[in-house]
Amino acid sequence: MSTPYAKLPAWADYGLIPLINLLVAFLVAGLVVLIVGENPLRAAAILVDGAFGRGQYVAYTLYYATNFIFTGLAVAVAFHGGLFNIGGEGQAYIAGLGVALVALAFDAYLPWWLIFPLAILGAAAVGGLWALIPAYLQAKRGSHIVITTIMFNFIAASAMVYLLVDVLKPAASMGPETRAFAQAAWLPKLNWVIELFGAKIRSAPLNLSFLLALVMAVVVWALIWRTKLGYEIRTFGFSPKAARYAGINETRIIVVTMMISGALAGMMALNPILGSEHRVQLDFVTGAGFVGIAVALMGRSHPLGIVLAAILFGALYQGGAELAFEMPAISRDMIVIIQGLVILFAGALEHMFRPWVQTVFASLAPRTAGLEPAKAEAR
């Protein structure tokens, strides 16, 4: 028997509950700041100012958010198909190879606006193919996708170390990275957009990938809710039995869904490689694949929610860096703790306050006469 509560209005479901979760996360984080002997309110002020206080900061926030939008969308697409893709980290990392090969091959001949679409294809193809193997193993052999995608993260990391150290590194260089791309391949910056609002930016990495991320958010929305494939993915995600009944091929859905997911994760590589560093460096993903899981959870697997959650996490990254700089007692690791708390409350404990909110809503709701609709079916 399910517990019947009042059904929440959409604004409470998608707005109020995440907000409560976030507030609790910050309260607990505030306690941590207190314990290390700093003033939590001042820390919060620095964090917010560090994320949004200047055009410069906003540009950084959006730059980080770009990474998280891609990886968040990747996790969300898999979620809709009932698959938990933990491998965004590895898929993005190895997809750097796709970007690098395109850029290294064509940067002498082509302008950025021709290299960009090719690099998108390269990133998506490599990321998608990297996800194909776990997907196939899941579909055909029943190997659990969570386990295989985690393991593929390690394989990707090791493979990239090998490639960057032994294969892609220019002969005379000491750093485990590719050569820098010719300037023709660099993606245009978007800092001027922020400068339109009157801010002044010295240098910030925000680039065209941000727009691509927003476009992909719209594409994912259309894919999931407006296409036949999306319908099949959702059917399979909600109920594999219903999918079987409806004649939806399980293997095909698992493989296609994971490849789309991997391709989205792979596109994350464009942002740092083609947009900011103009080379492939060791560990350029820096955990964005895992943050994507939290972003997708917090954004309720909806592209709009993911964009908002990605900006929140981008702000935490950027504001956190400023905070670590301003308050020596708060180290980089403390910032990770705060981010972890947000993930804990917004993601893992997402439903902790739901019953309570529902009870409040139920007691506020007008007592209209009516029959209880069949709610017992809800899991």
Partner: protein, 510 residues
């Protein structure tokens, strides 16, 4: 007049805007069997959950044996002498009967003493109420009927004087149900009070002393059972006159549409669940498959519809074979005119999280009329759904509402509308009226007969013997994966009941 075992007055319970119970009064006399009937969603389960402490009422008073008490948890209910036998048993499958009975009442940290005490107590209970089970039998080896007795023993062991049974006969053969009724009679004779929740009018008439009828969260009537009729109760439940018997003409069966030969199916553990089954369904007839749940009917339907792979046998649809032992695409079968209303509408027939319109194309979502290239043609899908909503009187008439928010009967209508409106030649139907209210049952039955009259072949699987008997032109009885007998639509309940219980053919024929 006898004392009141339970007296409820003015019980109300709301879940948000939904008023599941409104100002309910109920008086259950001590030492009687009291039936509570009502459609799904009428509030029976909520009321009993309040009595057993799962929920607290918003207002109202509960008196047990004349004393007003607060029941805040099942523990309070047990302390007050109330026991509950749930529709879905709450037994640990790999424990023995004894272990299950003492679960939650084990006594001290070491089990020895508690078990010894329980054993003698259990012996006494078994003797007193004719509840033979055997304390050392492992529950998973017991039949469903025996498992139910374990549940009753559990309640009695905890000192229950008032026993609530929630839809107890849903999973029983007619013979097992009769045995249960004898046990209930014995309990009554020993002074226990029994509250029986059911939607089966026949049971109410057979064993209860008093009956209360619920509708839309209110108690609409209480009657002495011997002073009422099935027709009156049905009318009280639904709020209007209901046709209990389906009216239909003689079948005009024509050529075979669906032929099943030597079909054998094994489940995931390799146990043969459908064993060498052969039959045919002709155009213009309804063939009913009767049997107690779990005798292979579900797997039979799944194998024919391509959801489950068979190990052996052939199935012909319009004379063309279906590759039941290979990979079958259920979608391709739909294109060939085989529609399937699955037993489990919650997990198979519907995606409850989808809105009604999305569910109305499940399985037909690659038909060109619902698509524009790779995109869903959402206006067309919604228009199509609205049409079906109107034709099948699906309520609420909102194709954009989540399917989980529809009642069982309306959910079933969504499935039925989807499958029937594609105009299939063969319709497979599993448990079409499980969890469906009386009003919708009548509608669904008429639809199925209309399919038959339109010269379609209908294969009906149901554990409701009444349903099988009133709809079918021919009845096949399945037991332990085999078809153990065929009867025409006029077979008596008695002879079908014997077949369902696995009694040999020759004996049953006598």
């Amino acid at each position: 007049m006898a004392d009141a075992a339970i007296q409820l007055s003015g019980i109300s319970k709301s879940f948000g805007p939904v008023r599941a119970n409104r100002d309910i009064d109920l008086l259950v006399e001590k030492g009687t069997i009291h039936g509570i009937i009502g459609e799904n969603g009428a509030g029976k389960s909520t009321l009993m959950s309040i009595l057993y402490g799962f929920y607290q009422a918003d207002s109202g008073e509960i008196r047990v044996n004349g004393k007003p008490i607060a029941i805040l948890s099942p523990n309070d209910a047990i302390a007050a002498g109330i026991g509950m036998v749930h529709q879905h048993f709450m037994l640990v499958q790999n424990f023995t009967v004894l272990e299950n009975v003492i679960l939650g009442a084990e006594g001290e940290a070491l089990l020895g003493k508690g078990i010894a005490k329980a054993r003698s107590e259990l012996k006494r209970l078994e003797r007193e109420y004719g509840l033979d089970v055997g304390p050392d039998a492992v529950v998973e080896d017991l039949s469903v009927g025996l498992q139910q007795r374990v549940e009753i023993l559990k309640a009695l062991y905890r000192g229950a004087d008032i026993l609530i049974l929630d839809e107890p006969t849903g999973v029983l053969t007619p013979a097992e149900a009769d045995h249960l009724f004898r046990i209930l009679g014995q309990l009554k004779a020993q002074g226990k009070t029994v509250v029986l929740i059911t939607h089966k009018l026949r049971e109410i008439m057979a064993i209860t002393d008093n009956v209360s009828v619920m509708r839309q969260g209110t108690m609409v009537a209480s009657r002495k059972t011997n002073a009422t009729t099935v027709e009156e109760l049905a009318e009280l439940m639904v709020g209007r006159r209901v046709l209990l018997r389906v009216e239909k003409e003689e079948a005009q069966a024509a050529a075979p549409k669906l032929v099943v030969k030597n079909l054998t199916v094994r489940d995931s553990r390799g146990v043969t669940v459908v064993d060498d089954v052969s039959f045919e369904v002709r155009a213009g007839e309804i063939v009913g498959i009767a049997g107690v749940a779990g005798n292979g009917q579900s797997e039979l339907l799944e194998a024919i519809s391509g959801i489950r792979r068979a190990v052996n046998g052939t199935v012909l649809l319009d004379g063309e074979p279906i590759d039941v032992t290979g990979t079958v695409d259920p979608g391709a079968l739909r294109d060939r005119g085989l529609a399937h209303v699955p037993e489990d509408r919650h997990h198979v027939g519907l995606v409850l999280a989808f809105d009604e319109a999305e569910n109305s194309i499940l399985g037909y979502h690659d038909k060109p009329q619902y698509l524009k290239g790779p995109f869903l043609d959402i206006p067309a899908i919604r228009a199509d759904a609205r049409e079906k909503i109107q034709k099948y009187d699906i309520r609420p008439a909102n194709e954009r509402l989540r399917t989980a928010n529809f009642s069982g009967g309306n959910q079933q209508k969504v499935v039925l509308a989807r499958e029937i409106e594609q105009d299939p030649g063969v319709l497979l139907v599993g448990q079409p009226t499980r969890g469906v209210d009386v009003g919708a049952i009548e509608f669904i039955h008429r639809r199925l007969v209309a399919m038959r009259d339109a010269n379609k072949a209908v294969l009906l699987v149901s554990v409701e013997l009444d349903e099988i008997r009133s709809l079918s032109d021919r009845i096949l009885v399945m037991f332990a994966g085999r078809i153990v007998g065929e009867r025409d639509g006029n077979a008596t309940e008695g002879e079908l009941g014997l077949l369902m219980a696995g009694v040999e053919k020759q004996e049953a024929a006598e």
